[in-house]
Amino acid sequence: MKFIQKEHGNGGKQTYELINELFKPIFDSEILKRGDDSSIFDLVSKKIGVTTDSFVVKPYFFKGGDIGKLSVCGTVNDLAVSGLVPKYITASFIIEEGFPIEDLQKIVRSMKEYADIAGVEIVAGDTKVVEKGSCDGIFINTTGFGVCEKEGRLPSIEKIKGGQIVIVSGDIGRHGACIYSHSSELGFEEKIESDCAPLNRVINELLENVEVCYMKDLTRGGLATALNEIAQKASVDIYVEEDKVPVSNEVKALCDILGLDSYYLACEGRFVAVINREDKQKTLEILKKYNKEACEIGWIGDTKEKRVYLKTNFGGTRILDMLYYEMLPRIC
């Protein structure tokens, strides 16, 4: 088996070979193949969005994905929930000396596969190799560019008001539970698949048919943290009904054993949307085509304490606060 060596990052012949023999053939982008210091491309839109994210997930292969897929989906999803159509992304790699080249190939192929699925092109990249021990295997940074195709349909925090409803696009906590199950060595590895997936197609269909007031993808900190951020930014209270929040039995079981709270587990292919009540049926029709677990979980209240309240299964009420503890070592 071949491994990454320090020389693969020295900017010389071996770097050149790595880029030309591994990255370029797999990413297969005409813009990237030019190999210029900057990639030049067209973006015909008045409004352009940009987002960047770094990925350090451990383990870098997990059930339902790998760090490559995650690095594409994470950035695509950040653009999509902002109401933008993702077009181009860049990819920067920091690789530890001794990393298996076979694993790198798998990761890069996975990036290409999900870039194709999401309809984005990988147009620029960089590779650095660091000494053994200076990073943990592989870290990837991706930056994404998206365009606004119809300005009127951009969701915005100002559109949130009392009486609207909150929808979640699928069952929560799968990615966090998947990563946790890998590290806990409880034998759950084969049971829980990460929800990591690009969301731009479902979101695009939603935006074409419904006025979405606001959207947020559920990443680190899970559903609870995303809802708290919305409550803070929009200065509203959000009410969530515990018995409506979809959580799979596998995730519930893991949470019970390890004392975790599914509301805080990361997702990498789920989002919440705030919509007007009259759009509920149409919204759920669209979302359920992609994930049958999509459902209404709560509503925006008329009070403005900036809190998220959970109506429990027993009929009590409690705060659903932001995440205060590091639940997972490295989840994305």
Partner: protein
């Protein structure tokens, strides 16, 4: 019984009793379950929940932390993770680690024996009640069997009976007690028989929301019937005699000693120490329990039900789960922590 019927029945019983019931839950896991399921709002005007001294992190004296911090420059301290952030008089174990102190997290005291390097001088921070005591007994046995001379135990283990007696005798008057299911797994229903002399309704409870509701129903029925025998709602786990093997391990390696509990003070027979015949495996961690850092922190009053967490002047203002000033905010099972995360809005 359906949940709604159960809740109705509990409330109906309390209306018959005719006053707001004071119910103390001894174990931190119960505290969390009560808040997490929203029972503090569901039974508002019916039950006043008081958190007792059953969270080992919450009752630990800062002097113990100080001793571990001191020792961490020379010894490697093996500890459960929840002890890391407990404030000592100058620093926590977590801060000591950041300053170069040798501190390792363990999940199982038995497995941790295998992690100790030959040239490492290790101290196992033995904290907890009868629930964790058997694990430390097994750990000690493994150390003896392997002939390890480089592992010592800093024993601060506690028992539940004496502090509970002290709480009921000297500190609070309650109508009902939710007894800790985990400790009961080891000491059995028999281990809690002493509660009956206090003429208070009591029940050993599991930790799911439904367990708590069944336990509350049992408490209200017992008050109406003036029946003060200890009940066992957690029958699927807790036996009358407890776990005989686990108890025999505790008896083999430990004996009763006085122990300090935050809020309750020094309690005779409230702790466990390693028996003299195994004293070579014990390290002296004695500290002056009368010495306390000046602080506005009122954990002691919270632990004895004198005040609610939000009545402490530090609560939420400077004492939060991110920057805890007192032990009850450190532990995820501490009452201040549970109140902060799940119920802090109630005071408004």
């Amino acid at each position: 019984m359906q949940t709604t019927e159960l809740i109705w029945e509990i409330k109906n019983n309390i209306e018959k009793i005719g006053r707001i019931l004071k119910v103390v839950e001894v174990c931190g896991t119960h505290t969390v379950s009560i808040y997490k399921n929203g029972f503090h709002t569901l039974f508002e005007g019916y039950i006043d929940f008081i958190s007792g001294p059953g969270c080992p992190v919450c009752v630990t004296h800062e002097g113990y932390i100080d001793r571990l911090v001191e020792l961490s420059s020379e010894w490697t301290i093996y500890t459960f993770g929840d002890l890391l952030k407990v404030p000592g008089s100058s620093k926590s174990l977590s801060q000591a680690r950041a300053n170069g102190g040798k501190i390792k997290i363990m999940y199982s005291p038995v497995d941790a024996v295998d992690s100790v390097e030959n040239d490492e001088k290790a101290i196992f921070a033995a904290v907890g009640f009868e629930t964790t005591a058997p694990a430390f007994a097994l750990s000690l046995e493994k150390v003896i069997e392997k002939g390890l001379k480089n592992v010592k135990f800093a024993c601060e283990l506690k028992t539940i009976d004496e502090p509970l007696k002290s709480l009921l005798q000297n500190h609070i008057q309650v109508d009902g007690i939710i007894l800790p299911g985990h400790v009961a797994t080891v000491i059995g229903v028999d281990g809690f028989k002493f509660v009956e002399e206090f003429k208070v309704a009591s029940v050993i409870s599991g930790f799911e929301g439904y367990d708590i509701l069944l336990s509350l129903l049992s408490i209200t029925q017992d008050i109406l019937n003036e029946d003060f025998t200890v009940k066992n709602e957690y029958k699927r786990v807790v036996k009358k005699e407890g776990n005989v093997v686990a108890k025999s391990y505790i008896d083999k390696y430990f004996e009763r000693t006085g122990a300090y509990f935050r809020g309750l003070g020094l309690i005779a027979g409230g702790g466990l120490k390693i028996k003299d015949e195994f004293s070579e495996y014990s390290i002296d961690i004695s500290y002056d329990h009368t010495k306390q850092k000046d602080s506005l922190c009122r954990c002691a009053d919270v632990l004895t039900g004198k005040i609610k967490p939000f009545e402490c002047p530090l609560f939420e203002k400077v004492c939060t789960p991110i920057s805890p000033k007192g032990a009850c905010m450190v532990s995820q099972e501490g009452s201040c922590n549970a109140y902060f995360r799940y119920g802090k809005w109630k005071r408004r």
